[in-house]
């Protein structure tokens, strides 16, 4: 039995692609949250160095505004995390709904970790100065473990979207949670969190006026040792790449130039940071001043941005691999929607129905809204008039009918031939600067031809996206 469609109102983000909106917030959230996680670990490391007498001035960093930064970042990280939930609802309610349904106990468990993080963080912030060294270290370790725990849980959910593993067949959430990309992703993010925290600490140390140059150098060298996980990042990145599905790997290795460029930007920025950390700091050949640390931090932000873009992009044509296409249609629904139509039961009217020259265009606008709007705009970023504008009308019909073959990272079209023709006319009308008069198109022969193309393409995703379905994300 086909799972019934749940219709949600679809918002228009104007010329901005929805992916840019969630990507922007996501990058900000990930960067802050990773800093808070790494910052907790670094504070525990400083405390250990100070109480062992290895680096007494580490206590000064702990009691400086670094602790405020970590604390504030944690709270803002938590808030933007809630913001991510809300933004995900705006972009794809079906996807976040499926994630929440499947992993609600994992999210509830993560919530426990949030609580421990809040209480430990505030206890250190408010009472750290009256606690014994041992208590301070234990508190910071609890804070660090709680922070790392929150990463552990959310990492399982996010990596499941790309490589859901045996969960697809068995429904076993632990098979989905500990999936093929779970471990490389977890270790990579942990290393990234430590690097970001180390760079922030380098900025803070450079602003401290109550330490000597020698003490500052000692602090920065200790911080560099904390950042040494950066040397493992290339290996972890390759591990992640090998663990992802073959088609996803092909997108980032040249199949999709945007993803390839973002990957290269992330790798390039990471190499620069890693090189500086290893050669300059650990080997003690260079001293890092505040300006350099800030520049490296900006590079780290760029690397995070590139990495997150790639992580979001490689899932195409799915948001949850093998389960849900980017446009919230399940693979099982495609054939059904080709019979009954994707606009037939949609209870939400058009906002600007009078704007369109005829009913066919209104249907086309509804098809665009349900099938395309999650990733495309009409004429803005990733706009259909730009992508399809140069094609002839027959090319447009055929390329949309065989969408998954036209571009391997696109889902199959899920609507009737009449809806497909309406979409084509809608795009042409928009590209023509929406004239007031526009003849309805589509005779029986045209619909028959479209149907033939739809049948030829089938209802399955592109062959490349099915290639390693049996191994569910394992390398070929």
């Amino acid at each position: 039995m086909v799972e019934p469609s749940v219709f949600y109102p679809v918002n228009d983000f104007g010329p901005a692609m929805k992916g840019l909106v969630i990507g922007g917030l996501g990058i900000f959230h990930v960067f802050l949250a990773q800093f808070a996680i790494g910052g907790g670990m670094l504070m525990a490391y400083y405390q250990w160095l100070a109480m062992r007498g290895k680096l007494p001035e580490a206590r000064q960093v702990l009691d400086s505004y670094f602790r405020y930064l970590v604390l504030v970042s944690f709270v803002i990280g938590a808030l933007t995390g809630v913001g991510m939930w809300f933004t995900s609802i705006q972009i794809s309610p079906a996807t976040i709904g499926k994630m929440v349904d499947t992993f609600h106990w994992v999210w509830a468990t993560e919530w426990i970790f949030f609580w421990v993080e809040v209480v430990a963080g505030y206890a250190f912030y408010r009472y750290g100065k009256i606690l014994s060294d041992r208590a301070r270290l234990t508190l910071l370790l609890i804070y660090s473990v709680a922070g790392f725990g929150s990463l552990f849980w959310i990492n399982g959910i996010l990596s499941w979207q790309l490589t859901p593993g045996e969960w697809v067949e068995t429904g076993n959430i632990w098979a989905g949670f500990f999936n093929a990309t779970f471990w490389p992703s977890l270790f990579y993010r942990t290393a990234a969190a430590m690097v970001i925290a180390g760079l922030v600490a380098a900025v803070v140390v450079n602003t401290m006026s109550d330490v000597t140059r020698e003490q500052r150098t000692a602090l920065i060298n200790a911080t560099a040792r904390f950042m040494l996980g950066v040397v493992a990042m290339p290996v972890l990145g390759i591990w992640f790449l090998l663990a992802m599905p073959a088609d996803s790997r092909e997108w980032v290795l040249g199949g999709s130039i945007a993803m390839t460029l973002f990957l290269n930007a992330a790798v390039g920025a990471s190499v620069l940071i890693g090189g500086y950390a290893v050669v300059g700091l650990w080997r003690q050949k260079l001293y890092i001043n505040g300006a350099t640390a800030t520049l490296l931090l900006a590079l780290a932000f760029g690397a995070t941005a590139g990495g997150e873009f790639v992580r979001e992009g490689v899932r195409k044509p799915y948001t949850i691999r093998d389960v849900l296409f980017s446009n919230a249609v399940t693979p099982g629904q495609v054939a059904h929607l080709r019979e009954v139509g994707c606009t037939t039961d949609d209870p939400f009217p058009l906002r600007d129905a009078d704007r369109y020259a005829n009913d066919q265009l209104r249907t086309g606008a509804l098809v665009f809204r349900s099938q395309c709007a999650v990733c495309h705009t009409v004429s803005g970023v990733n706009g259909l008039t730009h992508l399809m504008g140069a094609w002839s009308v027959d090319q447009q019909r055929m390329n949309v009918a065989k969408l998954q073959l036209t571009k391997g990272f696109m889902p199959p079209f899920a609507g009737t031939p009449a809806e497909l023709e309406a979409l084509v006319q809608f795009v042409r009308w928009e590209a023509a600067d929406h004239p007031t008069a526009w003849a309805e198109s589509g005779d029986a022969a045209t619909f028959a031809e479209i149907k033939e193309w739809l049948d030829e393409a089938g209802t399955e995703p592109a062959p490349i996206a099915r290639r390693d379905r049996s191994s569910n994300g394992g390398a070929e």
């Binding site: 749940v6 109102p9 609802i89 349904d101 509830a108 609580w115 208590a135 632990w174 939400f348």
Partner: protein, 364 residues
């Protein structure tokens, strides 16, 4: 005879219970933030007019609020994550649709909360001490932020239940859902927030964690008890029309009757507890235990009645298949294990801080 929510099918009942328990925790911090921001906002406004209160008890209350509001806000947000999770499981389509219909207006609560959080830190900064105009402006912006968030949640809740209004709300692109029920509901949350925050503030002062002198603390507790005595029964009374019990049909009223009786009994007990505190403000803990127990009962009754009405409005039959499917998924044991570990960690932290404050050294 079984009572709500225990009469529901098992998966739905389970998630409703979890929603109620976690919501109760959220309400404690949320009430503190809501009433606290209003107290600080009003005090700030008076300060801007040059009417600085000379009463040291009132000053003690505002000092405690300034000190603890950032933590209370972050705790309210953290505590809110779990009920937000269970709302998504129980009423996914309704909640998501309301989110989508309100669009930017709804999303604005996230930056607004971030602004409020930073301003609360600014409010307690030594740098702006004595600058009454600036302090007043900051406190009033915080109050406005918190009220905006409260208003938005009520609007979202009501819109999620008004399925008939969805297509037109979408067609017009209106991001504001105008309902006459919003203002009275907000009034209820404010009044009940004052009742709850009074108890929490009185606990803080009585535990001497605030650094306030005993005599001043006693007078402040007395003042808070007066607020509690007035606000608690008022909250109970306002709840009846504000939350829609009066306007509900006979069947719904009888369905929620036992819950409203429990809430009313809780309000009476809480008011009695506050009265007890008023009589013995120098040794208020017994009264505060009674007031807190009463408030807990009141909130459980009201929150359960609210869920009853929500389930009736949406229709259980349209939800139960999803609940049943989701209810079979594993992970509960993991959650419970980590809940115990988490609680133990928090207990250790509280004990460690308590011992350090009293010079007792580290716990063994």
């Amino acid at each position: 005879m079984t009572v709500f929510p225990f009469e529901l099918p098992l998966p739905t009942m389970w998630y409703v219970v979890l929603l109620l328990v976690t919501m109760l925790l959220h309400v404690a911090f949320m009430a503190y933030v809501l009433a606290g921001s209003m107290m600080l906002g009003i005090a700030g406004f008076r300060g801007m007019l040059g009417r600085v209160p000379r009463d040291s008890a009132w000053q003690a209350v505002t000092r405690v609020l300034k000190d603890w509001m950032p933590f209370a806000l972050s705790a309210a947000i953290t505590a809110g994550i779990a009920p937000l999770l269970f709302v998504q499981i129980l009423y996914q389509q309704e909640f998501y649709t309301a989110n989508l219909l309100s669009f930017h207006r709804w999303m604005a609560i996230v930056p607004v909360l971030i602004v409020a959080f930073y301003l609360l830190y600014l409010l307690k900064a030594h740098r702006i001490e004595g600058r009454l105009a600036l302090q007043g402006a900051v406190a009033m912006v915080v109050m406005a932020c918190v009220l905006f968030v409260g208003w938005s949640w009520i609007e979202n809740h009501l819109l999620s239940l008004d399925r008939d209004a969805w297509p037109e709300q979408y067609r017009t692109g209106a991001m504001v859902y105008a309902s006459p029920a919003i203002a009275p509901r907000l009034g209820f949350w404010i009044v009940s927030g004052f009742a709850t925050a009074s108890a929490l503030l009185a606990w803080q002062l009585s535990l001497a964690a605030s650094g306030v002198a005993a005599e001043v603390a006693a007078r402040a507790i007395r003042m808070l008890a007066i607020v509690g005595v007035v606000a608690t029964p008022a909250a109970g009374l306002i709840a009846l029309p504000a939350l829609g019990f009066w306007s509900a049909d006979e069947g719904l009223r009888s369905g929620t009757a036992h819950l409203m009786v429990a809430a009313g009994a809780g309000a009476v007990v809480a008011a009695a507890g506050f009265a007890l505190v008023l009589r013995r403000s120098s040794a208020p803990r017994a009264g505060l235990v009674v007031a807190s127990a009463g408030l807990t009962l009141m909130w459980l009754g009201l929150l359960a009645a609210r869920e009853f009405l929500r389930l009736e409005s949406i229709g259980l039959e349209s939800l139960s298949a999803r609940h049943e499917r989701v209810g079979t998924l594993s992970g509960l044991i993991v959650f419970l294990v980590f809940a115990v570990i988490g609680l133990a960690s928090i207990a250790w932290i509280v004990r460690t801080v308590h011992r350090a404050q009293h010079g007792l050294g580290d716990p063994k």
